[in-house]
């Protein structure tokens, strides 16, 4: 099929669409192939009951790259963000409420109700992390270096980067070197004394992660909480539902001439002599392309869609060992009314968190370590309809809950039998915090990691396409040796969250991979 595409993109998740758009705008003929009948992967909105539109996957957007929004003119394609503020309303063991606002001074005033010392520390903490995130921010949009074979330009960039980082000051540099590697319990313990504050910030770092607050290396995640402030934005929901973001990117893609096909499940990637030549759909249809860009995760792409003979055993082994075990379950509720939070003082709480102490969080993780769903899960609740009433019939609401730990592999039993019990544990607890919640439930959707895998094709049900731990970041993501979006198969690229900068709705992997593909293309053309 000589008249194939320049690029076929496997998967119409947000990163696949972002990559396709950049490639289309560079004049390539691009087709996006999506297995499902809807685009967006986990960035979708689904009607869980007529009139109730819930985010099936991601409820919040905070890390979406401003470059992507600008380049793709997403606001002109209908994207509108509504900041979540207070960004979290957290409930303590004693029922006290800690409310954190985006404005650090306003947050500090709330923290002062618990501890004046912590209130002061919070401002400094906020500034430290925003400063650190701002320093690291440009790295998000670069192809990670192959540290052993850096070109002069690359080397100069990182020397300049180091000099720029120096501006943080001696103290902050020292902290920046140790903070990310530390366990949350240790790092937050240095800053704060209020247990609820420490636990609340910890959940930001732990959601979707296979780790507890005692695990070293978890403090890195706290950065994400403050990252939007680097660009003067905030954690937000998408007006009309997360799916509107997908629609906006898809519109940009189409405007760039990209062909988008849904219900087009790719069965395998075709190769000749170690080069990708296109894909074959489950229907048997073959589509030729010069480049195959996969937004599926690394395991699905390299172990699922390639023939075993295509890859060396050593690479297969590395990919197999990429840690990708889902930790989190999603529960969406349609509610006839929104019961009041106990201790409610009239301030809206669009995002509620329960995970009152570090020990509570750690014990939830302990269960997961031994292959059990948490007996006492912690959870993060978003009520998008509070900010965007169009998502539910008047006076009624949709609620989106991330609950953890729900390990993909259960040592005893399976998710068929455990699913209901786990969801009940979450909803029962929530019902105690918001009396009357259970009776207000009109519909309930529960997605365990097994469901997440089945529905979105995310291996292990891992929402980030692979653990976001330090050993799977930057040039080590997805696996050591393949951190530049390329794969051992020539012309096959990874453009999804399995690649740097990783999971979450960022568009970063799609953006960076597209640039890498175009760069390599240019080089091949010159050669």
């Amino acid at each position: 099929m000589a008249d194939g595409y320049d690029v076929v993109v496997i998967g119409g998740g947000h990163n696949g669409l972002v990559a396709a758009t950049y490639l289309g705008r560079a004049g390539r003929r691009v087709a996006v192939l999506e297995r499902r009948s809807v685009l967006g992967g986990p960035a979708t909105t689904e009607e869980i009951r007529p009139g109730f539109r819930a985010p099936t996957g991601a409820a919040l957007v905070g890390m979406l790259r401003p470059e992507v929004v600008r380049d793709l003119q997403l606001d002109q394609h209908g994207l509108q963000l509504i900041p979540v503020d207070p960004v979290v309303t957290s409930i303590g063991e004693d029922g006290r409420i800690l409310r954190l606002w985006n404005d650090p001074a306003k947050a500090a005033a709330e923290i002062a109700k618990f501890s004046a010392k912590d209130a002061d520390a919070y401002i400094k903490f906020h500034d430290f992390l925003v400063g650190l995130a701002a320093t690291l921010d440009p790295i998000m949009m670069r192809t990670p270096p192959n540290a052993l074979a850096m070109g002069t330009g690359e080397m100069l960039y990182y020397l300049r980067f180091a000099l720029r980082a120096r501006r943080l000051g001696k103290w902050a540099i020292g902290q920046a070197l140790r903070f990310p590697q530390m366990a949350l319990r240790a790092s937050l313990g240095e800053w704060f004394e209020t247990e609820l504050l420490k636990a609340t910030l910890s959940v930001d770092a732990l959601l979707g992660r296979w780790a507890g607050p005692w695990s070293p290396g978890t403090s890195f995640g706290v950065l994400h909480r403050f990252w939007p402030a680097v660009h003067g934005s905030a954690w937000a929901i998408v007006r009309g539902g997360t799916g509107v973001l997908t629609d906006a990117i898809a519109a940009a893609a189409r405007a760039a001439g990209v062909t988008i096909r849904t219900d087009a499940a790719v069965a395998r990637i075709t190769t000749t002599d170690g080069r990708a030549t296109g894909v074959q759909l489950e229907s048997g249809e073959a589509i030729a392309a010069q480049v195959v860009a996969s937004s599926a995760d690394a395991k699905r792409t390299l172990l699922g869609l390639l023939a075993p003979a295509d890859l060396e055993l050593e690479v297969q082994r590395r990919i197999q060992h990429m840690r990708m075990e889902g930790a989190v379950a999603k529960i969406n509720l349609a509610l006839s009314s929104l019961p009041k939070l106990k201790g409610d003082d009239g301030v809206a709480a669009p995002r509620i968190r329960y995970g009152p102490t570090l020990e509570y969080l750690e014990r939830a993780y302990d269960d997961a370590k031994y292959g059990k769903a948490s007996a006492h899960p912690y959870f993060d609740v978003t009520i998008p309809s509070l900010l965007d009433p169009s998502l539910a019939p008047s006076g009624q609401h949709v609620m989106s809950i991330l609950a953890q730990f729900a390990p993909y592999h259960l040592r005893r039993g399976d998710w068929k039998t455990e699913k209901g019990k786990f969801a009940d544990r979450v909803v029962d607890r929530l019902d105690e915090l918001m009396p009357g919640l259970r009776t207000a439930i009109l519909a309930e959707q529960v997605l365990t990691p097994v469901d997440i895998e089945e529905k979105f094709g995310l291996t292990g049900g891992h929402i980030y396409q692979g653990e976001m731990s330090l050993d799977q970041q930057a040039f080590l993501r997805p696996v050591p040796g393949w951190g530049q979006y390329r794969t051992p198969i020539q012309n096959l690229y990874l453009v999804g969250s399995s690649a740097h900068p990783g999971g979450g709705i960022t568009g970063g992997p799609g953006h960076n991979a597209a640039r890498q593909i175009l760069h390599d293309w240019g080089r091949a053309a010159r050669a």
Partner: protein, 531 residues
């Protein structure tokens, strides 16, 4: 100034203090070592605890002592002798066991009883780890650079470090980053499947640390296991003839041969500081001794929060030291035995009793032991690293009798219920109950039992928090971050006050490297007349 007293006073006669003193003495400096206890060695100590029974009370094997130090201080001439201890024996609860000796083929055969693929992977794993150990070894003797300073000398150090990294090939480079960031369990999962093997290997990553095998950052210490150099051969552990205390005394004798004065039973109360400069020490007796420099072998917390006035230090530094994590996680139980123990798995006496014996059959076992400690209790079923030094050195106990030395983890310094002095014997009972599952007759052969808790390690041996490494060996406290960012070059904010113990790079274990590195920096400062 030097005319009025000593060139250097070393606070603490632990092995690192003695190494620093010996190097300074060797360079012709007038040095005085002050040790609070009656015996030298600090945590590397052997004492006759019960008549005829010489216990190596805390540290029990010697694997990391830097060969260049052994050579340069000529320690063998001063009585230092290592008996190779290459057997590794892991009895399992079901009566099975994993046992092999240092010989590679024997290890492969033993492992293949559990998994053929593990046996196949074993040698390439060992080779890779040995390569990593060879890469890390020179860094142990390096003074860490400062990541903020633009001084030419510092930039040179950074360049040296960069060049050192460039010696790595791709596999080694990635392995280095993985080892620094992964948990030992996750890292080992990439290689092996059989539990006894993984558990045994991962245990080296958690020794002395309040972390479990599934905690990120523990993989790094896997390298240490391959760093035991004895006569130049990697990966062999050894027992010091006469116990680790004999090593300390060999260093002391070397130091004395260079003219170093050593006073034991001499408790330093304060470091004397005038105008931001250390000028000597004051003893508990009230005696003041002046010196050109003061070198502290005490841990960073004891040094900066107890021996000097906080007002002599910058606030940021004090905060860093307060935040330096030194919570101890281990204890020791030493037994005097009537006869050799008979393991259910391998009851007869034999070479399996001469090496390291591990109670920690699988990763869950060790992880669960850690879980208990996280919440402030000692492990109900602890991980135990055991050895019988008397199988190698008959001088340690009366004829026919034996010593069982057990390193026990986890024993967190802070208990939620009760205090360590109240619960010491309960802890000892738990340990004996645990080994009774593997040595059914153990209770019948115990003559004496010494239980050392983290509280005792703090109280008696002066290690704050009972941390045997002067502070956790986690990546956030290693290299240029040890003990505090910007203060990893053995110097301190107080001029002429240096740190030479395990609280400085490269950290704990009987290595001698902090002492040797500190001496090198002190001599440099003396040469440049900075002090």
């Amino acid at each position: 100034m030097a005319a009025t007293g000593y060139d250097a006073i070393v606070i603490g006669g632990g092995h690192n203090g003695l190494v620093a003193a010996a190097y300074l003495g060797k360079a012709g400096k007038k040095v005085l070592v002050l040790e609070r206890r009656r015996v030298l060695g600090g945590a590397a100590v052997t004492e006759e605890v019960y008549p005829g029974f010489h216990f190596t009370e805390l540290s029990y094997v010697c694997s990391l002592m830097r060969p260049e130090i052994i050579r340069e201080l000529n320690l063998p001439a001063h009585g230092f002798q290592v008996i190779p201890q290459d057997a590794s024996f892991t009895p399992l609860p079901d009566g099975n066991y994993l046992y092999y000796r240092g010989d590679a083929q024997e290890a492969i055969d033993a492992v293949s009883r559990f998994s053929r693929t593990d046996a196949e992977n074993l040698s390439s794993f060992s080779q890779l780890m040995t390569r990593m150990a060879k890469f890390v070894a020179p860094m142990l003797m390096m003074t860490p650079p400062d990541l903020h300073s633009l001084w030419p000398s510092n930039l040179m150090k950074l360049r040296e470090l960069y060049k050192h990294f460039k010696t790595l090939d791709e596999e080694e480079f990635h392995t280095f980053f993985q080892l620094m960031t992964m948990s030992s369990a996750d890292y080992l999962d990439q290689w092996f499947e059989s539990e006894p093997l993984k558990a045994g290997m991962s245990s080296s990553g958690i020794i002395g640390t309040l972390l479990g095998p599934r905690s990120p950052g523990t993989a790094y210490v896997l390298i240490h296991h391959y760093m035991g150099e004895i006569d130049g051969s990697y990966r062999s552990w050894g027992f010091v003839r006469g116990g680790t205390g004999a090593l300390s005394y060999s260093i002391a004798h070397a130091a004395e041969s260079y003219g170093v004065e050593i006073r034991s039973s001499t408790d330093v109360r304060h470091v004397l500081v005038r105008n931001g400069r250390a000028i000597g020490v004051e003893l508990a007796s009230g005696e003041k001794i002046h010196a050109r420099t003061v070198v502290s072998n005490a841990d960073p917390k004891r040094t900066f929060l107890k021996l000097v006035e906080r007002s002599d230090l910058p606030q940021d530094f004090v905060t860093s030291i307060e935040n330096f994590n030194v919570i101890g996680s281990s204890g020791k139980v030493n037994l005097a035995l009537k006869e050799l123990p008979r393991f259910r798995a391998l009851p007869q006496a034999g070479p399996h009793l001469t090496g390291v014996i591990t109670i920690g059959p699988d990763l869950d076992y060790i992880e669960e032991a850690y879980d208990d400690a996280k919440y402030g209790d000692f492990s109900r079923r602890p991980y135990i690293d055991m050895c019988l030094p008397t199988t190698l050195d008959r001088t340690m106990a009366p004829a026919g009798k034996h010593i069982m030395s057990m390193f026990v983890q986890y024993a967190p310094f802070n208990l939620r219920k009760g205090t360590w002095p109240e619960r010491r014997e309960e802890f000892g009972d738990t340990v004996v109950d645990t080994i009774e599952e593997y040595i059914p007759d153990i209770r019948k052969i115990i003559l004496h039992r010494q239980v050392i808790t983290p509280w005792d390690i703090d109280n008696e041996f002066g290690l704050t928090g009972g941390n045997i490494f002067h502070g956790e060996l986690t990546p956030d406290q290693l290299f240029f971050l040890r003990p505090a960012p910007g203060w990893a070059a053995y110097r301190t904010p107080i001029k002429a006050l240096y740190l030479c113990g395990s609280g400085a790079h490269p950290g704990g274990g009987i290595m001698g490297a902090p002492g040797a590195n500190a001496a090198r920096e002190i001599l440099k400062d003396m040469r440049l007349r900075k002090v």
